[in-house]
C-alpha cells in the first residue's frame, strides 16, 4: 500500500530527468563551441588522470646525450636542454596546474558566494562596506594583486592558490549579490519569510539555489584564468619554482632556447596552457549564453 502513492512521483521524476537530458542535448546541439570546449576538457582530464602512467619517460630524468632534440616519434614534443622529455613533463604538470585552478576557484567561489549572499540579503551599512571593499580590490588588476601577495607570502603552492583566490573573490561577491537583490523580493522568498523561516534558512535553503547560476558560469571562466595567472606567476619565477614540472615553469625554462631556434621546449607547454584555458572559456562562454540570454551577446 505504501508503494502506490510513490509510483506516480517516481514516474514523474523519470520524465523530468528525461526532459532535462533532452534539454541538455538540445542546448549542446545548438552550441558547437560548448561541445568543442567539453571535448578539449575531457582530453585534458583524461591526460591528467591517466597520462602520468602512460608517458614513456620520467619527468625529471635527464639524458645529456639527447638534449634539445626536435619533436620526433621517440619524443613527440622533443627534449629540453637537459635531455628531459617535454611530453612527459607537460603531462606530469597537468595535475598541479588543474589542482591549483580548482583550489583557487573553490576558495573564491565559496567565500565570494557566502559574502555576496549575506551582503545582498541584509543590505544597508554592511552592504555598503562590502561593496567599497570589492571596489578597492577590483582597482588592482588581478594578476598584479596576486603577484604582490605571492611576493610577500613567499613561494609555495598554497600561497599561489591563496593569492589568486583573493584576487577573484570580488567577482563572485558582485555576481551573487546582484542575484540576491532581485531574488529576495520574489514571492517565494516573501512566502518563506511569512511562514517564519529564519534568515539563514531563507538565504541558504531558498535563495542560494536560485542565485548560484551566474557564479557557477563565472567559476568556469575563472578556472581558465587561474591557469593563466598561476602559470604567468611561475613564468616570472614566483610561486612555483623549477624543477617542479608546472606548465609556466616549463615555458620559462624553454624560453631560453628560442633564440637558438629550439622552439619546441617552450611552445608545447605554453600551447597546453592556452588550449586548457580555451576549453574552460569555450564552455564558460556558451554557458553564459544559455543561462542568461539577455546578458549574453546574441
Amino acid at each position: 500500500m505504501v508503494s502506490e502513492p510513490l509510483a506516480v512521483p517516481r514516474h514523474r521524476e523519470q520524465a523530468a530527468r528525461e526532459g532535462r537530458a533532452w534539454r541538455a542535448w538540445y542546448v549542446l546541439r545548438s552550441h558547437p563551441s560548448m561541445i568543442a570546449g567539453l571535448v578539449l576538457l575531457a582530453i585534458v582530464l583524461f591526460v591528467t588522470i591517466f597520462g602520468p602512467s602512460l608517458v614513456p619517460y620520467k619527468p625529471l630524468k635527464t639524458d645529456p646525450e639527447n638534449r634539445l632534440l626536435p619533436p620526433s616519434a621517440l619524443h613527440l614534443m622533443g627534449t629540453d636542454a637537459f635531455g628531459r622529455d617535454i611530453l612527459s613533463r607537460v603531462v606530469n604538470g597537468a595535475r598541479l596546474d588543474l589542482f591549483i585552478a580548482f583550489s583557487v576557484v573553490a576558495i573564491a567561489l565559496g567565500i565570494g558566494v557566502f559574502v555576496g549572499m549575506f551582503s545582498g540579503y541584509y543590505g544597508g551599512r554592511v552592504d555598503d562596506v562590502v561593496m567599497r571593499i570589492t571596489d578597492v580590490i577590483l582597482a588592482f588588476p588581478s594578476f598584479i594583486l596576486a603577484l604582490a601577495i605571492t611576493a610577500i607570502l613567499g613561494n609555495s603552492i598554497p600561497n599561489v592558490i591563496i593569492a589568486i583566490a583573493i584576487a577573484y573573490i570580488p567577482y563572485f561577491v558582485r555576481l551573487t549579490r546582484g542575484e540576491v537583490l532581485s531574488a529576495k523580493e520574489r514571492d517565494y522568498a516573501e512566502a518563506a519569510r511569512c511562514v517564519g523561516n529564519s534568515n539563514w534558512r531563507i538565504i541558504y535553503l531558498h535563495l542560494l539555489p536560485n542565485c548560484l547560476t551566474p557564479a557557477l558560469v563565472q567559476a568556469t571562466l575563472c578556472l581558465g584564468w587561474a591557469i593563466l595567472d598561476a602559470s604567468g606567476l611561475a613564468f616570472l619565477g614566483l610561486g612555483i619554482r623549477p624543477p617542479t614540472p608546472e606548465w609556466g615553469v616549463l615555458v620559462s625554462e624553454g624560453s631560453r632556447d628560442i633564440i637558438g631556434g629550439q622552439w619546441w621546449t617552450s611552445f608545447f607547454p605554453g600551447a597546453v596552457i592556452v588550449l586548457t584555458a580555451f576549453g574552460f572559456n569555450l564552455v564558460g562562454d556558451s554557458l553564459r549564453d544559455v543561462t542568461s540570454p539577455t546578458e549574453a551577446v546574441q
Binding site: S33, R132, I133, D135, V136, I137, A139, F140, P141, S142, F143, I144, L145, L147, A148, I149, A151, I152, L153, G154, G224, L228, S231, G232, F235, L236, G237, L238, G248, V251, S252, G254, S255, I258, I259, G261, W263, S266, F267, G270, A271, I273, V274, L275, A277, F278, F280, N281, L282, D285, V297, Q298
Partner: protein, 339 residues
Amino acid sequence: MGSLRRYVLRRLALAFVTLCGVVVVVFIITRILPGNPAAVRVGPYAKPELLAQMEKEMGLDKPLPVQFVNYVAKLARGDLGKSWRTGQPVQQDLWQRLPATLELALAATLIAIIVGVVLGILAALFHNSWFDQVVRIFTIFGASTALFWLALVFIFVFYYRLGWAASPLGRLTVGIEPPARITGMFIVDSLLTGNATALKDTLHHLALPAFTLAFVVSAPITKIVRAGMLDQLNADYIRTAKTIGVPMREILWRDALRNAMIPILTTIGIVFGYLMAGNVLVEMIFAWPGIGSYAWMALLNKDFEAIQGFVLLIAAMYVLLNLAIDLLYSVVDPRIRLG
C-alpha cells in the same frame, strides 16, 4: 548644470574613497600578511640580531598603527620609499620608466581598438555568418592566450625565422641615440625633434611587443563592439535612417558606432588594467625598460618598497582612468548626468 556638478562631485568622492582603500590594501599586503619583508630580505640563514636590525631599519619594529601613519605621511609627500636595488627613490625610478610603458600600452591599445572596431562591426553586420563565428572563436581564444607564450611564439616566428622584427632587447638598437627627452615616449620625442633614424628604429622595436599585447586585448574590445553594434543596428532609429535612405556607411560610423561608444569606452578602461598586468610579462620578455620590467626585477631582488610603489601606481592610475572615463560620459551622454 546643478545635477552634473553633483554627479561629478559624487564620482570624485567615490574615487577618493577607493584610492584611500587602495593605500590601505597595499599596506595590509606588505605589513600585515604573515610574510616578513625583513626576514625575506636578510635571507633564511641570518642571525636574529641582523633580522632585528633590518626590521628597525625598515621601520617594522614599531606598532602597526604607527607604521601606517608613517606610511601615509610619506605618501602624502609623494615619497614612495627607496629602492633597495637601485638606491634611488622609488617615485624617481617609476617616473623615469613610466613613458616606456605608456608608449607600449598606448600603441597596443591603438592597434587593439582598430582591430576590435573593424572586426566587431563586420561581425555585427554579418550576424550569424561564418565570419561572425570565426570572430567569436577569436574573442574566446584571445581571452585564453597566455601572453608570455604568445610573446615567445611571435619572437620565434617574426624575429628568428622571418627576421622582420627587431631583436627583442629593449626600445632601440644598441648604438642608436635616443631622441632628446621631452615626454620620454620615443615616438613623440623623435617626431618633435625630427629624428627620423630614432623614429624608425623605435617603431621597429615597438611592433612586436605591441602586437603581442594587442592580440590579447583586442578580444574583449571586439566582443563589446560587436554586441553594441548589434544592439544599435536593431534599434528603431537605425531602421528609420535606413528607410529614408541614409547611406549605410554613414549610419554605421556616425550613428551606430557613436551610440555604441559608451560600453566600448568602459571596456577600454577595463582593458587598461589588463595591459598593465600583462606589461610585467611582456616587458620582461622583450627587455623593455618600463615599469613592468622594473617590478619584475624588484620581485627577483625582494625589493619591497619598489614593488609596493609599483602596485600603488598601477591601482591609482586604474582608478583615475576609470574616473576620467566616467566623467567623460557625463559630458558626452546627457542621459547619465540626468539619470
